[in-house]
């Protein structure tokens, strides 16, 4: 793993300086602001406002960070910068893991920032009352704080899967555009298929990968009543560990693919 920390520092510096990450962050947070601005949530319906904002946020993060993952190594290869790095005494696994870590931290930062914006907007604009289904209380206003906290944890591993899958593709590509197309076909394609066919594509990455955001959305619409399930430790563990295993697999595959790659550009 020689050079991992230096590579990570370099990759984080590049994320701050490059235009694409800035546009992605701006686009994702802008989508949150827009969804809040056009929300029809009324008094006490802060959860509904948060839910609609997060659904936008999740969709934008998946789409745009897939592009980011796809150009991470292939873009550097196309510009020749990868050659500059590989002429140094750095391990190939370190190159892939540093890119994966930097991309993951970036996705987390955007998601958490978007979530905070949505929560603050929900609190100040509407306030959090009980979430009701007809006359039944699905989540009480007093439980809302804990429920919201879990929202930070649950979707994150699933949100990291598309950019890391794209990164995996990127390890074998010298051409950023081809990598982007392949990555979008592999990640957003099934989601679009699910959207068109009306089938909730929970099977796309893992059985429950998209569940937390989906569940929240359904809760806010008042027709999903399995709040107890969302509360259970087993459910939370499954939401975190199943995608986490996929993440580890993608990172491992990326390292394997990059290890065999010759640097010609």
């Amino acid at each position: 793993m020689s050079g991992f920390w230096s590579l990570l520092r370099l990759d984080l510096a590049l994320l701050r300086r490059r235009r694409l990450p800035r546009w992605i962050a701006g686009g994702a947070l802008g989508s949150v602001v827009l969804s809040i601005a056009f929300s029809s949530a009324g008094d006490g319906e802060g959860a509904r406002l948060v839910a609609s904002a997060l659904r936008f946020l999740v969709a934008v993060i998946i789409g745009l960070t897939t592009v980011l993952g796809a150009v991470s190594i292939s873009g550097d290869a196309a510009s020749g910068a990868l050659r500059g790095v590989m002429l140094r005494p750095v391990g190939r696994p370190a190159v892939v893991l540093a890119h994966a870590t930097a991309t993951s931290l970036f996705v987390m930062a955007i998601y958490v920032t978007g979530l905070i914006i949505a929560l603050v907007a929900g609190s100040t604009l509407c306030g959090y009352g009980d979430v009701l289904y007809e006359e039944y209380v699905v989540i009480g206003a007093d439980e809302m704080a804990g429920f919201m906290f879990r929202l930070v944890l649950l979707p994150l591993p699933a949100l990291l899967i598309p950019p890391l899958l794209a990164l995996c593709i990127s390890t074998r590509m010298d051409d950023g555009a081809t990598a982007v197309v392949l990555a979008l076909v592999a990640t957003v394609g099934p989601l679009l298929f699910g959207f068109v066919s009306g089938d909730v594509p929970e099977w796309v990455f893992t059985e429950r990968a998209m569940h937390p955001a989906t569940v929240l959305g359904k809760l806010a619409q008042g027709y999903q009543l399995d709040a107890d399930r969302v509360d259970s430790v087993e459910y939370i563990a499954a939401c975190v560990w199943q995608p986490a295993l996929w993440l580890i697999s993608f990172a491992g595959l990326g390292i394997l693919l990059f290890h065999r790659r010759e640097i010609h550009t």
Partner: protein, 305 residues
Amino acid sequence: MTEVLLSTDGLEKRFGKLVVVRDLSMTVRAGDVYGLLGLNGAGKTTTLRMVLGLVRPTAGEVVIMGRRVRFGAAASRREVGAFIEGPAFFGQLSALENLLSLSRLTDPIARGVAQELLVEVGLGEAMNRPVRTFSFGMKQRLGIALALAPDPRLIILDEPTNGLDPKGIRDVRDLILRLNAERGLTFVISSHLLHEVENLCTQVGIVHEHTLAREGPLDALMKEGASELRIVAEPVEVAQRVIEAHAGPDDYRVDEGGFLVQARNVDPASLNRALIEAGASVSVLSPRRPSLEELFLARTEEVAS
């Protein structure tokens, strides 16, 4: 015996049926400025890529400072500075940031050292500008600064003077010669600019048709070429008659505004006397050694035939 810093043995690279490098064995010793010469497509850059572990050899091995280079392994590049096929940087970062960030991947260097290095390669005023605003020549200079940081023993430069203006070429040449003389740094320089190699290198390897056709000290190579006499005399018809009588009809040619005569069978003093006695006015009569370019072309034509 001087330490061998870099050697290759039977190096070969194929892409399917296409042979790019074939049975290439070269040796670079400490303190050498080694010029790797070859026509475009001869296999120079692929050889250097294999040396640096960027490309996996199909056969053969590379040894750097006693360590066998394994494809993808980091250790062999620890004491090697290099740039291959043009400069490679992050365009969004400044020259100084690139230098600090990339040298950190080997051993961190202090900001002051990085600044001095950039001043040394002529980028003192541009060090804080993003590299994407640099001209090719400026990037080339930055590439050389990067290869020098932090303190390698062996520096591999692929076409280092490409894109440089005449002053830049002279600066790079002076820098290489100074670092070689003062710090004993060893250089491997791939180039097709033969007069540059002639001015710079102590050892030469000629890559032709994907293999090393010739390797050895530059001096020895230059001595191999037959020396000539350059004669400028008027009237031309008289001079030509005398030269033909002295040297034979096949051992002279008209070139460079005069005559080039094979020196092996001609005594310059008697030829000069004969020219004067025949009424010719001799303005130049000087020995001339063939340039490296002529030797290189002769060698490659010899191998081809």
